[in-house]
Amino acid sequence: MSSLWLPILMAVPVLGAIVVALLPKGSDKAAKQLTLAVSLVVLVLTLVMAFQFPSASGERFKFEAVYDWIPSFGVHFGVGVDGIALVLIALSAVLVPIVVLASWHDADGVRTADGTLITPKRSVKTYFSLLLVLEAMMIGVFAATDIFLFYVFFEAMLIPMYFMIGSYGGAQRSYAAVKFLLYSLFGGLLMLVAVIGLYVVAGKGTFMFPELVGVIQDPATQKWLFAGFFIAFAIKAPLWPVHTWLPDAAAQAPAGAAVLLVGVLDKVGTFGMLRFCLELFPEAAKAFTMPIVVLAVISIIYGAIVAIGQTDMKRLIAYTSISHFGFIVMGVFAMSQVSQAGATLYMVNHGFATGALFLAAGFLIARRGSPHIADYGGVQKVAPLLAGYFLIAGLAGLSLPGLSSFVSEFMVMVGTYSSPAFGSGALTVAAIVSAVAVILAAVYILWMVQRALNGPTAEPVKAFKDLNVREVAVLAPLVALIIGFGFFPKPLLDVINPAVTQTLVNVKVDNPAIAEKGAGQ
């Protein structure tokens, strides 16, 4: 019994990418329109699929499809989604058309106010073709139920992003692209060893995830394999101290690509921790919880403090993301229902909030040609619409109540504080320390808003045009989602919660030993 939903969802963007790439020279406009159309088709298909999700058949994974790919290696083209994967696929499907619209002129070359060319004109159709390839891979990486297939997407999706940064990014694009690729590749190769090790030790002759859950029993083996997976995911997420590639990559990437990089690609890291590190190696995950939570708390505080000191808007947003990823990782490893559901919700909300912030900043930068906050001032008077959207996106970044990220951040902190696992109280301390970041977040966001949007209008800013229809069409849906899910997160949580429960069952946190410890606190 296999469903064609997910294969079709991946095939549509791939076919679209091929058609876009084969368009004759000079049909830039057609390439953009076609890409937008394809990504909208994917979005509609995803939404239809999502609405069928509650009633679809299948125990843990729904819309499953499994085909043999490489029988000699026990590798399948196996796809299927649980609630966690579904919301992340939906996140990707929502962001791509928005990014397409936002990137309408990205490949056309960027000029500063005084006319110097920052990025030369590049092949437009290649950019949009890469974007569609990336979309197919993003869907594939979240949908893969075969660990080998997951690995293949995990690595292969670096290549389109690499070219998007390297060919279309800012002045230091090639340095940033190489750093991004090498960091991720190194982590990925360590994971490859762990993937092979898992296959060999399990001795099942298959890479299908459901059949490998709970197979590895030996604690020492678990720890080694866990480390291989975790380092790869920590680099991807990125967790302090392997985060340094992100500010460079995000600052140099064109705004649209940065949204997908931070909004979706990095989520593969936290998604992988939740799905693979925890469920395949539960004992190791428990053994390593404390060090990882400490790293997460360092990320939360460090990211926030460094963000305050940034003078470059895109770098600032990148550092805030490092802080936010710390929250997600903490929520994942606190191993309670509320914290993990919160972390998953955080992945989605962060995608919307940071996406909106990056895009709004991108529109500012496109007008002024400079990413430096100091080059702006008083935008609010000249372009109130742009300033307004920027402010809302910023407030979502600092988790203002009523906006979606507040719900998830609150859930992560409460879930961590009251986590029944590890009764030592260390998690409680972690939750309290991380709460400091809420104040720091207000500082970095509001200070940026104050410097860029308020105050006397800077001379070059006076020529700014307010948002045009295309730009409003980019930001409005995101802001609507941020506010909508801020007041009514239930639809998302209804989908996420059963999947988290299943994860916790596989991790066996409700077993007597831990329950006893939990009761003793």
Partner: protein, 528 residues
């Protein structure tokens, strides 16, 4: 001892591919002797290509018929088993593809004897003279490459080694551009190669002293009956190893590779980087698995160090290279290290070894085809003085010629082992075999094998850096004002690149058919 010498039995049917190639080579020499100068090339080209393709067809026929001999042919001298036939097939395809490149104008010197830069050279060039001997020379080399991994005794192997190497020494010195470099490469290769042959021969003699036979089967039997720490055996093992490892360019015997790859005419470099490597790895496997298989407690620790060193030297030194061919040479050294990981992946039960063998065969096939494709691209990027060898000249190629640069980038990604390319599955197969053999219970080398695989992975990451650097140059840098021109590729070169690209993409997406082929070839292991 009645003085009657019995005529040896020769299985002509089984040996037909080998005989065809050697026969065509001899015929080629006759063509050189008797055909008029203006006709030679017109005769050589079809003769060479047809004989290679004919031999390939014969290999296919043998495989399809499927009744492989249980014992070695030609009185136990040549083992025509699954792995040998697989390697023959690969070598024949590679050489046919390389001949297409060799046939292009402008790679070879007009008159090798003329002093570089002299008036004789100019005259020869103006007269349009050429060395058509290259065709029979290539055929002899290919014949040697086929015999080398199929030899079942050390003497035949030595002869094959020489038949393979001698024509290559010559061919290396025939580059039309940068002739002094080419001649230096030829000389260096010849001297070092002669040394390594001597090592091999001396080792064979020592082992003969120990076992009383040069046959690999006989050596294996002798190992089963007598002491394994016999000094003759140990010395023989070490010397034999030096000779063989030299040919695959494993560290610390890798020094010739960059110089020779750089100096040789690029089509010949392609032939050496693919065909010679495939043949030599086949021979290494046969010697170490068949002849010295029972001795693996002694050679595995040494091989471990060699593999580790090879990977590290290959990938680290490649970073500092500025010549595209030298960079590819160091990359080839690194890949030889990865292959040695596979050579070490032996199990206690012989039956399980077929998995490792199949992984190595698969790796050889995909790596060598990508290599040929990459060198074919190198031949097309030209400066006024020949190929644009300096890496900085490749800057901005992606703008000038997006298709060619894209293809080359894809080959580089395959070398780096990025998923959805053939190179990834090659690396994956070898690493899996090695980890699997290490996890075998009761194997004290287990942890070491895991360590070696981790080292291999780290080396891959380092190697990725210099592959990616070329991609950065091609796509993210602005083209130089007087950048290189892209030669209009001949039909042959187009065919080479297309075949290499199709295999790299096709196997990257659907490796199963090729894996099946390798599994089938490896299922019977080596005959003894």
């Amino acid at each position: 001892m009645n003085g009657v010498i019995e005529a040896p039995t020769i299985e002509y049917g089984a040996l037909a591919p080998l005989l065809l190639v050697f026969g065509a080579a001899v015929l080629g020499v006759l063509v050189e002797a008797f055909a008029p100068r203006y006709l030679r090339r017109a005769i050589h080209m079809p003769l060479t290509l047809l004989s290679l393709l004919g031999a390939f067809a014969l290999v296919i026929v043998t495989v399809v018929k499927g009744d492989l001999a249980e014992t070695a042919a030609a009185m136990g001298a040549v083992a025509i088993d699954g792995p040998a036939l697989f390697i023959w097939g690969v070598v024949l395809i590679l050489s046919a593809v390389c001949v297409l490149m060799i046939n292009d104008e402008g790679h070879f010197v007009a008159s090798a004897a003329a002093v570089p830069g002299s008036s004789e050279e100019e005259e020869a060039e103006a007269a349009g003279s050429e060395h058509t001997e290259i065709y029979p020379l290539v055929l002899f080399a290919v014949g040697g490459m086929m015999l080398f991994p199929a030899s079942n005794d050390l003497l035949t192997m030595f002869v094959a080694l020489e038949v393979m190497s001698l024509p290559l020494y010559l061919l290396c010195g025939l580059a039309r551009r940068r002739r002094l470099l080419s001649q230096e490469a030829s000389m260096k290769y010849f001297l070092l190669g002669a040394f390594s042959s001597a090592f091999f021969l001396y080792g064979a003699a020592m082992i003969y002293g120990f076992a009383g036979t040069v046959s690999l089967t006989g050596i294996s039997k002798a190992l089963g009956t007598s002491g394994l720490l016999d000094p003759l055996l140990m010395i023989g093992l070490a010397l034999l190893g030096v000779g063989l490892l030299f040919k695959i360019g494993a560290a610390p015997f890798q020094a010739w590779k960059p110089d020779v790859y750089q100096g040789a005419p690029t089509p010949i470099t392609a032939l050496m980087a693919s065909g010679t490597l495939v043949a030599a790895v086949g021979a290494v496997l046969r010697v170490f698995w068949v002849g010295l298989g029972n001795l693996d407690w002694n050679w595995r620790p040494v091989m471990w160090a060699v593999a580790a060193l090879t990977m590290i030297i290959g990938s680290v030194l490649a970073i500092t290279q500025t010549d595209i061919k030298r960079m590819l040479a160091y990359s080839s050294i690194a890949h030889a290290g990865f292959l040695l990981i596979g050579v070490m992946a032996t199990y206690d039960k012989a039956g399980q070894n077929s998995g490792s063998l199949s992984a190595i065969l698969f790796y050889l096939l995909v790596y060598s085809l990508t290599t040929v494709g990459a060198f074919a691209v190198v031949t097309l990027v030209r400066d006024p003085g020949g190929e644009a060898w300096h890496l900085s000249r490749w800057a901005g190629l992606g703008k000038r010629s997006p298709v060619l640069a894209g293809v080359f980038a894809f080959f580089l990604l395959a070398f780096a082992g990025i998923p959805l390319t053939s190179g990834f599955f090659g690396k994956y197969a070898v690493f899996t075999a090695a980890l699997g053999s290490g996890m075998e219970s009761g194997d004290s080398l287990g942890g070491w094998m895991t360590g070696l695989v981790v080292l291999g992975v780290v080396a891959s990451a380092v190697a990725a850096f210099f592959y990616v650097r070329v991609i950065v140059l091609m796509f993210f840098s602005e083209p130089a004002a007087d950048g290189p021109t892209i030669a209009v590729p001949s039909m042959g070169t187009v065919a080479v690149i297309t075949v290499a690209l199709l295999v790299t993409v096709g196997v990257g997406l659907f490796p199963q058919p090729v894996l099946d082929l390798a599994n089938q070839a490896a299922s019977g292991l080596f005959i003894r």
